[in-house]
Symmetry: C2
Subunit: 355 residues, 2 copies
DNA sequence: CCATATTACGTAAACGTTTACGTAACAATA
DNA sequence: TATTGTTACGTAAACGTTTACGTAATATGG
């Protein structure tokens, strides 16, 4: 087989016509005779002509590539986000170039530079934890490359943002614990620096207050690394408290698993003695014992939404229309399993029971 | 700020010299005067010149993009593979365009087409389970685009391949169970169609034979979907067998977790009554109760290796050298945790104890 | 001082495609 | 029949960069 793909030139020469005529025939332009068009289409089919995307990119100054920078690919939430982005982008004829920042600002900077050279049409980015300066992103915007922030966002720049409603998710989780009859509800959280953790804490507090339950500071525990190990020992502390909790709302699924292990080792029953609910609905959550109730974040849908926003902005820029920056707060949903509802409980509507 | 990036033309005009001279200065070519070179470099710095990658691609007919097709991004093994690929590619100045086949042949075909148009320099692919025809990949090779297969490979084409030593991993896992004193070792496997599962079964059988243990067909159980649920019920079957196992080697971590849950529900102790070992070392494996021993696949390293292979082939093709196709079989390693060794056991060398 | 080599540039062409513009051939209209 | 309009093409230029080639100016050698 020939080394290069079929080009317009090849078709033009074989038919004895000019290159632009071939281009017009294939792109369904108006200035083209019916007979010529048929001949071109037939030959293009025969030679398996596929336009060279790079030449088109180069000519149109549009690459149909969306850049994507993610702190950690190996993370249940983010891999779902990526999956949603790639699938949605493909629908609109865009490809996705993926870069991993490893939560490192320098690396993020480098990715941005590479992308700029590569002439991406737009960027979707979840900021690394060490990024406290977004001049590199503002620089992209200055060069008419739209930037959409997802999940890990910032107020340091004006851009469209997609987050999920951590506050409401936490409120719902806490409310659920109250509704199954729990009154001493503990909260295991991370460091309260990231916005997401702070919002989850707010939701927990507000739900307790809304139902007239007292806030007991002794029922609040911190796990800086939100790890299973930290949570295991913090839960042990909770269990030894003179007013031990009858439920725990954990800010992440790993901490929830730590709590479960501690409770079981302590000889208590879940959910009868202590109910546990997590946040993020990791894939592992459904297969541990007992299966963990959790707050599902619409990761995949967040990715899809981000693609639609960035493509909108790309199109608006192309037509020199003003861009309206939007912030989307996506809804979470409760996934109820045995760690809060036991084996058989009648559920209200709008609530998923995956037992 | 200006709309477009600085071009060679901008620098040339400001200095009153020609475009190729600027190009030569920036690319450290020989035909260039020292004084001119300094002026160009200074101005390029000032104007923040960054070469337009697409123009270079177009000119050189080389994109410095590696295409990557993966069945499922949301999968612990694959997301590690992707991470390795992206990190390694970046070291060599390559970007990675990611596509997800969703285990669907049609989708894989479409990704290949898109990539071909996009002029990727090489492709790394893990075949979808429904792919039984690789003409689309051979087509890429015919167009001088190297293809490297990773993990899910095939014999239907000649190409470099990267797999991990499933046989040896399974053998080691089984041998470990024998060495901690187990004699009735069961195996929970998937359907024996994929090469990987078949190899793990072979390793199990050979280890038993090597140590003079009998193969009891009743200790072999199948889980077609390799799910936790299937494994839970298959394990129950095993426990009710009149000669119940004192250890189970599971072909995947999710099935191992199903086994653990079944054993605990049955009131037996792990590992004293029954030891359990899995395969793949998922992130969840370390945080369940008890922590699961498993066979670690060098996912990240497999990704790195794939990048090096594909770049080698790209470079060889550029210089019209013949390509030597290589098959790399990467080593697995045992990760021992409490599900096989209890709390404190002296380990032999070369074995990782993550307790 | 003439022939040759070297240095440091400029010119032109190329990569594959699209688009603005020009125009020949023909048809429609007054 | 002269004018205008329409159709269906071809020509040229452009996107940003690199490279083959040509050449003027200077240096080197005998």
């Amino acid at each position: 087989m020939s080394k290069h793909n079929t080009r317009l030139k090849d078709i033009a020469e074989k038919l004895g016509i000019s290159i632009p005529t071939v281009s017009r025939a294939l792109n369904n332009k108006s200035d083209i005779g019916e007979a010529t068009k048929r001949k071109v289409l037939a030959l293009a089919e025969e030679l398996q002509y596929e336009p060279n995307q790079f030449a088109i990119t180069f000519k149109n100054q549009q690459s149909y590539i969306i850049g994507l920078i993610i702190p950690q690919i190996v993370h249940h939430f983010f891999s779902n986000v990526i999956s949603g982005i790639i699938t949605e982008a493909e629908k609109f004829g865009y490809s996705v170039m993926l870069f991993q920042s490893n939560e490192n600002y320098e690396s993020e900077l480098k990715g941005t530079k590479t992308f700029k050279k590569t002439m991406i049409d737009g960027l979707i980015i979840s900021l690394s934890d060490t990024t406290h300066n977004v001049d590199h992103l503002i620089g992209l915007q200055d060069h008419k490359i739209p930037v959409v922030l997802i999940d890990k966002v910032t107020d340091m720049m004006t851009a469209s943002k997609i987050v999920c409603d951590d506050y409401k998710g936490a409120y719902d989780a806490t409310e659920h614990l109250i509704k199954v009859g729990k009154k001493q509800i503990a909260h295991i959280t991370g460091s309260l620096t990231p916005m997401t953790t702070k919002e989850r804490y707010r939701g927990y507090v507000d739900a307790l207050e809304a139902y007239g339950l007292k806030i007991d500071k002794n029922l609040l525990k911190y796990c800086d690394l939100v790890s299973e190990k930290e949570s295991y020992s913090q839960t042990k502390d909770l269990l030894n408290y003179l007013n031990p909790p009858d439920a725990i709302f954990c800010a992440t699924d790993p901490t929830a698993i730590g709590a479960i292990n501690a409770i079981k080792d302590h000889g208590l029953k879940i959910p009868e003695d202590i109910a546990v609910i997590g946040f993020s609905n990791w894939s592992m959550s459904s297969i541990i014992d007992p299966p963990l109730s959790s707050v599902m974040q619409p990761d995949y849908e967040m990715g899809q939404k981000a693609v639609r926003l960035v493509i909108d902005e790309i199109n608006n820029l192309k037509e020199d229309k003003p861009i309206k920056f939007k912030t989307h707060i996506m809804k979470t949903s409760l996934i109820l399993r045995e760690s809060t509802i036991g084996k058989k409980i009648d559920l209200g509507k709008g609530v998923v029971n995956l037992l």
